[in-house]
Symmetry: C2
Subunit: 214 residues, 2 copies
DNA sequence: ACAGATATGGTGCAAATGCAACAGACAAAA
DNA sequence: TTTTGTCTGTTGCATTTGCACCATATCTGT
């Protein structure tokens, strides 16, 4: 995709967006699949837009367990204050799932409107505001799921969110079973077992990754 | 405290902040302790600053369990997109812990700079941006704690965060035992038991709400 | 100081979850 | 096609957690 189609430049004409790039210290880079693209280290202040490919934001805990914090596809944005991960305990990285082309931008330059060259800089700030509250809402949903006390409740809560988002009782899981277990922070085999019980109890129907709430 | 001392008006002179109030449709209200101040209903778009008192953002689940999403004191800000709670499953409310005076503002008016009356409107947007990423960071920490798999790991993770924030191995819990259990989404008595085991294992020392990591 | 309410600490038991191990399914590579 | 590796579903067993109680401790208002 073209960088100007990103949510970051929503409402800004492509030519004007193009003209803003030098001011934002834009730099494009390519990464092969599986490559580490970004680490949330203190002091770093670049943001990035994924132009091609898909990636995951993951945290590796000291004890070896892994948590998927976010899944990103083309148009996705990460880095700097756009995400909110502290490096306190585990380390947080952005890793390519497929080969990626990524546009890096200077976050500080983005949020401070310069009155000189960039007439649409204000729109950029507005867009960041909306991206930020959108991402925050996702995190809030995550907290809602994680604060459920049983595996069954976590699954039902998450399925409920997917159902609302898809506007249907039937939807497709965006995760493999392993990743879903990591996402919910539960044991994989315990989760698969619980899914079986839920099917037996007539709560859900599943065919591959397609789930229906009954 | 005075509204102009809120983070929302950071860097804006009090007189100028005063002049912005009508434009933001500001309205002050008082609430007694325990009173419901705000519900996150779809469509509502007012934000609020706590001038006096303290409050909690809580979610009540369908099954009766309660989750404390956030603790607010004077200067704290809540409402609209400033928080990120969806009403999908449980209902989310802001409730006074002590008597509160609160200033309500129109969120939409805040984030859309009007070129006419408010020369400092842009600063307001910048401040919202920083409040939003600050709150998001808190939420991210919350996810970090909740994604720990055992009660012990949740406690250690949370204690680690408090230790980093206080800059010391000894710190004071901001919660009662009941509220802490709700915050971590675990059973209270199981948590108290685990705290005892952790003391016996020499991991921590506790005296009332004062915890020391060993 | 008292009574009532609320918070805390504790225990036994049942249920849920994690863990390790294994077998079949599936997909990518040779 | 076979091979190889990864994902999935399953099971038995150990451990953790939730739950329902109870006994003290602490707080609050009279």
């Amino acid at each position: 995709m073209n960088f100007a189609d990103s949510q970051l430049f929503f409402g800004i004409e492509p030519e004007q967006a193009e003209r803003m790039l030098p001011c934002l210290e834009a730099a494009s880079r390519d990464f092969p699949a599986g490559k580490l693209m970004y680490s949330y280290l203190s002091g770093q202040s670049s943001a990035a837009v994924i132009l091609e490919g898909s990636a995951s934001v993951v945290r590796y805990e000291a004890n070896g367990s892994r948590t998927i914090l976010e899944s990103l596809s083309a148009g996705g944005i990460f880095g700097a204050d756009l995400d909110f991960y502290t490096e306190s305990l585990g380390s947080v990285h952005v890793v390519c799932d497929t080969p990626c082309r990524v546009l890096f931008l200077n976050y500080e330059k983005m949020i401070r409107p310069c009155r000189s060259a960039c007439p649409r800089h204000l729109d950029l700030v507005q867009n960041i505001l909306s991206i930020l509250s959108g991402k925050s809402r996702l995190l809030g949903e995550r907290v809602e799921v994680l604060s459920q006390r049983s595996i069954r409740d976590k699954l039902m809560c998450y399925f409920g969110q997917l159902s609302v988002k898809s506007g249907s009782h039937t939807f497709t899981l965006p995760f493999s079973m392993m990743d879903l277990a990591d996402f919910l922070s539960v044991n994989r085999s315990a989760m698969v077992r619980e899914l079986r019980f839920m099917r037996e109890d007539g709560l859900i129907a599943m065919k591959k990754r397609e789930v229906t709430l009954l």
